[in-house]
Point group: C3
């Protein structure tokens, strides 16, 4: 059984290792795959993005353990949720799991996790003391009901901003800037015109490009990235450094030809 | 069999991968778990802290391979040590393993590792050429005596400073600053009064807090962290950035009520 | 079956995790080992160095998946190559795989990978959509011919600069600076005199040293590193910071005694 792990623990401490130790104590045969542990500390929305981006690449039935948990030790709910596709998500109910659950078809079952019997639960490290053991037990096929009480679903809903349409004009925003400096937006491929112009931070960029090599070096381009979302990139460079945009910057898409004067601008 | 790995190799080179390759060549079924490879280069004490912090989260019988080894290629001893709890520690005998061994109940057996037969051992990379293969063989159940000659125990002892008590006053120091900026001290929960005041870098902080959320945002707090040690934190912030303290800074704990004038100070 | 992974994806995004998900969907029992994912973005030669440095530490038959792929989405060839030693290399045919293949004895078979049937291949993420599934299938014993059409070998050849000899004088260059700041050169141990002097960035350094401890703290030294290449180091320090050299800097080796006046220079 595959178990993925995502957190804001970083890799300079042994926290991720400790969480894995507790998980493997419950599920010695689990195959562990790190998604990322470099979520900025306590940035639930960034964690939700990475989890959402990753889950579809794994086979149905995978267990995803995600911990970005500024509310650890308070009354926020610790949950495990089964998706309609057959996957399991384990983590705090603070918005972190919601977009991934939505992508996997929505909720099939949900439980509020009880502390494991006979085990001390620290106030500060539920990844090791609560979530890790629960993910391990679920990976070995434990009934969800044996881990806690049933819930109707997640309490804290989908955290991503939805794009909005105004006639042929589509408005969204930058969701994430990745390691290459690509800006990933919240605009899905299905809503894009066949040919379009993107307006971002005073720039106008034609799209879609067929690949990163479709424009000269150092020039910006717009394409559908590997998550199925519109991305803005710079060939052999970094959109993050070259474009004056950041997470949250507005992105507008209009059908190509709909913007007289665009070429003359830059 | 679980084998954990800790080193100062970083993850920008393939050194960790090479060590794992040599280990898996001896133990194809070992389950590898990274503790951390971001120990500052050659900082044996920091490595000892991370190893100590992590070992209790793993089931008994785990093999822990740790390499922070400024003396590689000299006469420093390369060892494998069995703990009373049934775990195995493999690495250089330079203080790195001692605190973890102590936490796991002390020494049951120890051997000085011989270079593996028929294999060239480089002067610079014993992680791959000596420790990795030894950890792999121990993970598959090899007798310790087949790897080298028996020793009475570790030569280089426990490296952590012990706290000291002066009446009701407890004196210790900062052992580690983690990724969140929390200051982990060498003061164990069992030695703390039920209510207390911590003095650190000119600050006075009441404790224990029940969770990170027990104080307003940006305020310091004192709680027992996930390692069972007193930690100083800042809610939704970084104690490392907010408090004028660092690894080695003195920490004093007195019972609460024992410090007239404390409140007026800041 | 062991599958190693190397890329320039970094670990701040979930790209490595997604590639592993696609690989495990095809090969649930593969044992995954990260070599490094910190190759500088699109630096094919640095990736080739790390892959070359790592492959010999793994048992024959290992599958090595390497993706540093500035040409993704263009007509560059996606390949799998079998080595004479029995290993498999999977990745783009852009020079990344060539030095490792050479180290493993050269080509036994090669195929140009076809997109997997019934699966969408994105324009930007062949690691997940093409290379990962191919590596997974090869790890489970699939015939190379089932993954694509046969090729005579790699198209893009060995990328490392070869050292050159001028009488007793050997000229090479710095290939890589590692996490400790050691400068790894392209001069193999077999071509070094028994005693020699290295000239690098205005310095003259006697060698070989037996270990990092063979000179006083802070002094430079020359030794044969764990890859079998000449390395320049600084004891308990960083050659990268102390010597005025970088990747590509020329390195000259002459037999010791062959350089009157050397001692007087510094």
């Amino acid at each position: 059984m595959i178990v993925t792990l995502l957190s804001d623990f970083g890799t300079a401490d042994s926290y991720v290792g400790q969480m894995k130790g507790a998980l493997l104590a419950a599920a010695p045969d689990a195959r562990l795959v790190d998604l990322t542990h470099a979520v900025p500390p306590q940035d639930v929305r960034a964690g939700a993005f990475h989890l959402w981006a990753a889950v579809a690449a794994f086979p149905p039935g995978t267990v995803h353990l995600a911990v970005v948990d500024p509310g650890v030790g308070t009354a926020r709910r610790a949950v495990a949720v089964g998706s309609r596709r057959g996957d399991v998500l384990v983590g705090p109910d603070n918005g972190l799991l919601a977009p991934a659950l939505d992508r996997l078809g929505g909720v099939r079952w949900a439980v509020r996790l009880r502390p494991p019997r006979g085990r001390a639960v620290s106030a500060t490290f539920h990844g090791r003391d609560l979530f890790g053991p629960a993910a391990g037990r679920l990976a070995t096929g434990a009934r969800p009901g044996s881990l806690g009480s049933a819930l109707p679903g997640l309490e804290v809903p989908l955290a991503f901003p939805a794009p909005c349409a105004d006639g042929a004009r589509l408005e969204g925003e930058v969701l994430h800037a990745d390691v290459y400096g690509n800006h990933v937006t919240n605009l899905p491929a299905a809503r894009l015109p066949a040919a379009f112009e993107v307006r971002l931070a005073g720039r106008r960029i034609r799209g879609p490009a067929a690949s990163y090599q479709a424009v000269p070096r150092g020039r910006p381009l717009a394409l559908v990235g590997s998550s199925g979302l519109l991305e803005l990139s710079v060939r052999d460079g970094s959109a993050r450094r070259r474009l004056r945009a950041r997470v949250g910057s507005p992105v507008v898409v209009v059908p190509a030809g709909d913007s007289p004067g665009a070429r003359g601008r830059r």
